[in-house]
């Protein structure tokens, strides 16, 4: 049964649970029923943690390398994992002894970096290092649409709330909007402040690492990093570009003052209208909270360790974060007594 979404109070954020894994963790998602949090790690396995008691169940035997992307069917019955082996694999979410149900070579041997289910649950979008974006039928794994036009690795994908469009972001800071029905590119927006080429080190760096459309569909948040003075040495600052999604123009640049080493790994809009980001870098791990009309965060919550991914529970106030110290943590955006 789905949870009722509650109003969060970010200023009351506090960690309520933490559970260990075998390896540093890199990805996490709550299942739609809100019973579990699933985590990918620096290995080929997926861990399912029961929110009730932290019991851990391993999902192994599917991928041959790290799993950075996780999504679920609308009813929550199946987990779909996207690996750096280019595969999409279906699993029974609540299985006592999970085994792969279906495996698809969705992006050849290129990394899958992002997965997202459409609002009505009928489409699964995947994006990866082959610079392609594809739509799949989550019920049977059939390919429904392909979007081609990015020139660099595609880091992120998200759906418009209407379900008619998707937005994708690549390593070069390009954000594209595509029409699902036709597969056509509608427009390309310039988020190049999230990218840099360092001539001294001769590397491309940055990219649109996170995308999230506001609940009213008016704003698109694109997260990543900027001021990359030393890409190979992890010296860069977190940045979110807020696009007016009607005009495609950048309306606001959201920053985290004082954070000189960090990157935004994921963005979520909360029920109170706040935009929440998870950040990790030399300054540690943080949850940042912005109002869309103010460039500086109105609140930040420091996590115990550098963070790499985040998800919001269907109840709207539990936040899962995964960390290099091999722990998944649950933070509540509510007063301790609530």
């Amino acid at each position: 049964m789905n949870s009722i979404e509650l109003m969060p109070d970010p200023k009351q954020a506090h960690v309520v649970s933490q559970w260990p894994a075998d390896r540093p963790l890199i990805s996490c998602r709550f299942d739609p029923q809100g019973k579990y949090v699933f985590c990918g790690a620096e290995d080929a396995g997926i861990s399912r943690f029961s929110l009730a008691d932290g019991t851990r169940t391993a999902f192994v035997g599917g991928h041959s390398t790290w799993v950075k992307s996780l999504a679920f069917t609308k009813d929550g019955g199946h987990l779909i994992s996207g690996g750096y082996d280019g595969k999409l694999i279906w699993w029974e979410t609540a299985a006592a002894t999970p085994v792969p149900i279906r495996s698809i070579a969705a992006h050849g041997t290129s990394w899958i970096r992002s997965l997202e289910l459409s609002p009505d649950g009928s489409l699964l979008a995947s994006a990866g290092n082959d610079s392609r974006v594809r739509l799949w039928n989550p019920a049977d794994g059939s390919l429904l649409q392909e979007f081609s036009g990015h020139e660099k690795h595609v880091w992120s994908v998200t759906f418009d709330p209407s379900g008619r469009f998707i937005a994708t972001g690549d390593l070069g800071g390009i954000v594209k909007e595509w029409e699902i029905a036709t597969g056509k590119e509608i427009r390309s927006c310039d988020g190049k402040e999230l990218w840099s080429y360092n001539g001294g080190q001769q590397v491309d760096f940055g990219g649109v690492r996170a995308l999230s459309v506001s609940r009213d569909g008016k704003l698109l948040a694109a997260g990543g990093l900027y001021k990359a003075s030393n890409p190979l040495g992890a010296v860069h600052e977190p940045l979110v570009l807020l696009f007016n999604w009607e005009s495609g123009a950048i309306e606001k640049k959201l920053i985290a003052e004082g954070i000189t080493q960090g990157v935004v790994w994921r963005l979520r809009w909360l029920a109170d209208g706040s935009l929440m980001a998870v950040d990790g870098g030399g300054n540690g791990g943080y949850l940042f909270f912005w109002k869309p009309d103010t460039e500086k965060d109105y609140h930040r919550f420091q996590l115990p360790n550098i963070a790499r991914d985040m998800d919001v529970h269907p109840d709207g106030i539990q936040v899962a974060t995964v960390h290099h110290d091999r722990h998944v943590r649950i933070t509540r955006l509510a007063a301790k007594s609530s």
């Binding site: 540093p24 080929a44 390398t65 690795h153 080190q201 001769q202 030393n230 190979l232 992890a234 290099h324």
Partner: protein, 429 residues
């Protein structure tokens, strides 16, 4: 020149001297044809006994785990898989699919332990075969190769560095071998600066200037002959010869299809230039590919960098093999060190010199071979451990130089390689 590294260390190894900086002003114009070997058949006409060395310097420290010694599925292996190669049983990282198909030409030395995690010191010992000390400076492998392998009076420098960017000039990397063997640096693969006589100087007036310079120099040298003054005179004479053969350095003379094969990026162009230089009999060419000092997001950066390297390097190896040049050309792919088996907080790998790899090919190196081994997690060498001294000796032995011998410098015997070290036993064929 000082090079900045992402870890904020500084390498102070190369102080460039601009011997060729005023090349056009000092050299006379001459006319003449070129002996550019543009076809495999012509390339094979190079003297079979003339050996050459080409070094790929993977600047910053290539990860052995993402290249020559993958450990997929282990705690230290990272996200990449290994792939089979053209030699059954030998696997390399999936980031090197094209190179994997050239494995039958290559020899991977997987047991390198240099015990030096500093960029500058690591680079020094890999290039000289000796540990850096305040008491002495030693010639780099390119200078040694230029002295030991160059054909007399070829008219071309024996020691070329193709650098990723910046201007050209002359290196200070020959130590007691003298400036004659210092590198000529081709900034971003461009020809030496001022290689074309300015239009404002007529051929006749330039010839007169050169004649006057020669007379003055001869008079000066009769009374004050030193290695430096000789090098000064040599640099002018070499400049004259370079101007005659300037097309050797012009990679744009290569067909567009060749550029496509090597990749339309700087490294591809540099590799094609290296092939051209070697075909013209230059004894030593070094290329740099930057940057592998991936303390942050090691895996993403290795995708990007090795994507360039794989195409350019594999094409280069295949071309040398096709042209019969692998018999006479030693290829070495090295760094100042490898990278840590441990993956750090930022998905990065740090400096690691205890257990890493060097890739070689050609001359007396065995083909399709792996020498040495690391343990399951790649943290230690467990078989056939070698260091920089062993490698330096071995490179020279592979091209027929007795590395245990001496150069006679101003009447003094100077060991060609570290006399306290020796070639790798049981490797060369």
């Amino acid at each position: 020149m000082s090079l900045r590294y992402p870890c904020r260390s500084t390498e102070h190894g190369i102080a460039r001297r601009q011997f060729l900086g005023n090349l056009a002003a000092g050299a006379g114009a001459m006319v003449g044809g070129l002996g550019v070997f543009n076809t495999p058949a012509l390339a094979s006409m190079l003297k079979s006994d003339q050996k050459r060395i080409v070094v790929f310097n993977m600047h910053g420290g290539l990860s052995q785990l993402e290249s020559w010694d993958p450990k997929p599925g282990t705690e230290t292996g990272g996200p990449f898989l290994s792939i089979p190669t053209s030699v059954p049983g030998i696997h390399v990282s999936e980031l090197l699919p094209m190179t994997a198909q050239q494995m039958h030409h290559l020899c991977l030395i997987r047991g390198v332990n240099t015990s030096e995690d500093d960029h500058g010191k690591g680079a020094y010992l890999m290039m000289t075969g000796r540990r850096q000390t305040p008491a002495a400076d030693y010639p780099q492998i390119g200078a040694v190769a230029a002295k030991a392998l160059s054909v007399a009076d070829s008219g071309l420098p024996g020691h070329i560095l193709i650098t990723p960017g910046g201007g050209g000039g002359r290196g200070n990397d020959s130590a007691w071998l003298g400036p004659k063997y210092s590198s000529v640096q081709l900034g971003n693969g461009n020809p030496p600066p001022n290689i074309v006589r300015p239009d404002a100087i007529t051929e006749q007036s330039d010839a007169a200037r050169q004649e006057f310079r020669r007379k003055v120099s001869e008079r000066f040298l009769n009374r004050r002959r030193t290695a430096v003054t000789e090098a000064f005179t040599y640099s002018f004479e070499q400049a004259e010869k370079l101007m005659v053969q300037k097309d050797v350095f012009d990679v744009s003379k290569e067909p567009g299809s060749e550029h496509e094969r090597y990749g339309t990026h700087d490294l591809g162009r540099h590799c094609l230039l290296a092939r051209r230089l070697l075909e013209n009999g230059i004894s030593f060419v070094q290329l740099s590919h930057s940057n592998y000092d991936t303390h942050n997001e090691n895996f993403d950066f290795h995708i990007e960098q090795l994507g360039e390297f794989d195409r350019a390097f594999s094409t280069f190896v295949a071309d040398l093999a096709d042209r019969g040049m692998l018999e006479s050309t030693l290829i070495v792919v090295l760094s100042e060190f490898g990278r840590t088996p441990n993956v750090n907080l930022y998905y990065g790998r740090d400096h690691w010199s205890k257990a890493w790899s060097v890739c070689t090919a050609g001359c007396r190196m065995p083909r399709g071979a792996v020498f040495g081994a690391t343990n399951a997690n790649g943290t230690e060498v467990v078989e056939h451990q070698v260091d920089h001294g062993n490698l330096f000796h071995t490179y020279l032995q592979a091209v027929g130089v007795d590395s245990t011998g001496n150069f006679s410098i101003d009447g003094r015997d100077m060991p060609i390689a570290d006399p306290s070290s020796k070639p790798i036993e049981g490797l060369l064929v």
